[in-house]
Amino acid sequence: MSAQLQENRDSVTLYGRRWSRENADLSRTFDILVVIIMFIAITAAFHLHFQLTVGDWDFWVDWKDRQYWVTATPILLMAFPAALQYVFWEKFRLPIAATVCMLGLTIGIWITRYSGFHTWSYFPFSMVWPATMIAGGLILDAVLLLTGSALITAIVGGMSFGLLFYPANWPLLAPFRLPMEAMNSLVSVGDYIGYAYTRTSTPEYLRFIERGTLRTFGGHSAVVSAFFSGFVCILVYLLWWYIGMAFARVATLPNRMKIFMGLHDRGAEGKDA
């Protein structure tokens, strides 16, 4: 039996402390309830954040470009994992926050893409498939576990988070970057899908995609974009780690309003009005 869990008939030792069997069972029931609720809450909140920030870059196959999609998606995704990593790690020593976020987000996205975009709005799934973000979450958690340091997690994990996004998605994206000819013009299969399936109020020019403005080494702007994204992810990670810290802190203020209203707080004052 490991040092973490030692059992006998009436009690159980959890992480060096003896618990009654009943309390341990209650604690486990509490775990299950909170995990379910938290997973749904994180999924919903992170999914909303993702829809509002990454939005079209992930909605459509003809927005997943080598510049903005690669740059913006990891940066915008970093907020929730970093903030929750503080809470999960500092309060519980659990290196799973980023994975929970990414898994919840993935499940949420699949539900909305299938039900909202595909079934409800008739878009083919080849047009609206979501990117995968789980690899970056796994790396963030693993680096935090091995180092126990927010700073190193930001530098190594944050950079990896930005760098891994494009190659992790390339197996999904490559079939849609095959070249084809349409109306005597060269387009990718993804371009043609975006052209063929009408988004009435989202014309071609609304796409925020690479239009040849990023000077690159070797002609492949995704590499430059990924490194830039990784660099910004380092900063964003640290920012949100401290935001997580701020929101996890319990603080109280003396109730001055009662005094202003002429209602002296007996407990605080220790004497009658």
Partner: protein, 421 residues
Amino acid sequence: MRLTSPVSGLLLGLLAFVAASEVAAHGERNQEPFLRMRTAHFYDVAWSTGKVNVNEDVVIEGKFRLFEDWPANLPEPEVAFLGNGTPGPVFVRTESWLNGQPAIQSVPLKIDRDYAFKTVLKGRIPGDHHVHPMVNVEGAGPLMGPGSWVQVAGRANDFVLPLTTLDGTKIDNLETWGVSSVVGWHSVWIVIAILWLAWWTRRPLLIPRLVAIDEGREKLLISRADLAAGAVLIVLTVSVVVIGFIWAENTYPRTIPLQGGRAVVKPLPRSDAPVEVIVERATYDVPGRSMQIRASVTNQGGRPIQFGEFATSGLRFVNRELPAAMAMVSPTYPKDLLPPSGLKLDDATPLAPGETRSILFDMTDAAWETERLTSLINDPDNRVGGLLFCFDDQGDRVIANVSGPIVPIFKDLVAHQGMTH
């Protein structure tokens, strides 16, 4: 039972829900009149058919003019895209052309110039769909042309969109292309994530760990096996990413980035415009649903002309006394956009070459109301705009711009004032 009771409110709500009819169009009448009367004027629009089966084509052809009196509050059409106003992707757009040039990319357009368009749509989702030609202009939004109902019959599951790429890859159906790869790689990552979470959630999680940290026993929370699992996870994650990338590179060796260029399309040659129209006074009789435009018209051409049609916002007020004008009306043109009263003139005699005459053009019909153009009086920019189609004695057509301020007339207010005085 009182009407305001919760039960009656609930019943009324249910009744409204049950009685609500399906909304099949898409709000084109809700656009402000100044947008519809002074931006893109579509004309000669024709739909090849009003009924197709799934996988069959409907072709929409016509022309549009970007109006000379373009609203000052809209940016000029430096970036525009030929779209189609449909309820989402119920059709698939397989081709679109502007003046014979491919319209797959966005283009700059010129004001007061004409463009011919052609769009080929392939039936996909069965139903009755309202189909408009449309031009999207950056900063101005979608500018809709006239809409016609097209019925798509058959089964949605029968739809296919096959194509062959330049490297010879045959795609049986674009609807499902690449989806198995997406599902497969997502599944791989989801399984790894679940295994990682299971590694940690199999043991007591929250309160015991919180207590352990509070009591300074946090070293017991992370075992050597946990650290080893973390190291394995890093190696596994990076390995899967690298393997996936190499697999994709080998499977799809020839790929290109998204194509985001801008095309260039020259407008149609400019006509000589031998007809000049200067609006003297335009009025709109609100309760009478009648627009009257008195304009000074000069025939600058060499042949006598007559006036055949006033067109605005897809509405076509056609002079039914003029056969050349009636001949231009396609049988597929939507009847609700062809007001039966048509265009009336106070003087219909031909305008001789060089002659200038003040003519009253009368367009009276409930279509002003049903098309919600009467809300023009609520616009901060009260100007009317449209195209006047003139025909010479050989049937040749000249199109003149008509624009000017418009004044509403409230006859009910006049009558009320008359009674009180």
